[in-house]
């Protein structure tokens, strides 16, 4: 399962799909089925995104190619996250659903109004740097400053 960035999917669905299919082909894998599983809200933000398109692919790949394949997915900025799980065989339902969806156009719907929760961006500058700290303390100010009361 690969989580794709919705912005990329909105631009071009085939291009977004090719991120996974091309990477599998690059590392000598054979795709058995691949389809869009769902587009939904994430339980927690990933790379400042609240929603993602879930792409489910079943493929066969030589074991020594898998680290390179995972590394490619890791480096791709359009991939929010991935999960690779070993399965015994591809489910028949998946093959049917993938065949139905193959070649079909898809566009990601706009997120609902109640879903537009912005993730706070990280501060570019250190907030402590904006505070003006006087470097030179004037002599008058130091002379007029009240001395702390001594007890006892």
């Amino acid at each position: 399962m690969v989580l794709l960035d919705n912005d990329v999917v909105r631009q071009d669905w085939k291009k977004a799909k090719a991120i996974v299919t091309d990477t599998v082909a690059k590392y000598g894998g054979s795709l058995e089925s691949c389809r869009r599983w769902d587009e939904r809200r994430l339980a927690y933000p990933m790379k400042r995104k609240n929603r993602a398109t879930f792409y489910l692919a079943y493929h066969d790949m030589p074991g020594d190619m898998i680290p390179g394949f995972l590394r490619d997915l890791e480096l791709n900025e359009s991939v929010l996250r991935y999960l690779m799980v070993r399965v015994d065989e591809t489910p028949e339902d998946e093959r049917k659903l993938a065949a139905e969806e193959d070649g079909a156009e898809y566009s990601v719907p706009e997120p609902p109004d109640d879903d537009l929760i912005e993730v706070p961006e990280e501060a570019e500058t250190d907030p402590l740097m904006d505070i003006d700290i006087p470097v030179d303390i004037p002599a008058e100010a130091s002379a007029t400053a009240p001395e702390p009361a001594r007890e006892g």
Binding site: M1, R40, A43, Y44, M46, A52, R81, L83, V85
Partner: protein
């Protein structure tokens, strides 16, 4: 006197459980409101099924289908 266990959610399903990381609605039944996995005593699963449940929930958390914390 023995204490009675309050909930045994999974005991009916333990014969043929459908534990998959994509079936989030089913997995949510075995989480506390804080997002913790229920113990075997409360879920009612056998050892093997509880292990499957644990890995399925952790996979679902990894891909953002379930929260780590409620």
């Amino acid at each position: 006197m023995k204490r009675r266990v309050k909930t045994m959610i999974g005991s009916k399903n333990c014969d043929d459980p459908i534990i998959d990381y994509k079936s989030t609605e089913y997995l949510e039944k075995f989480l506390t409101p804080q997002g913790q996995i229920l113990s075997r005593r409360r879920s009612g699963f056998c050892t093997q099924c509880q292990k499957q449940l644990k890995s399925a929930i952790k996979r679902a958390r990894h891909v953002g289908l379930l929260p780590f914390v409620g």
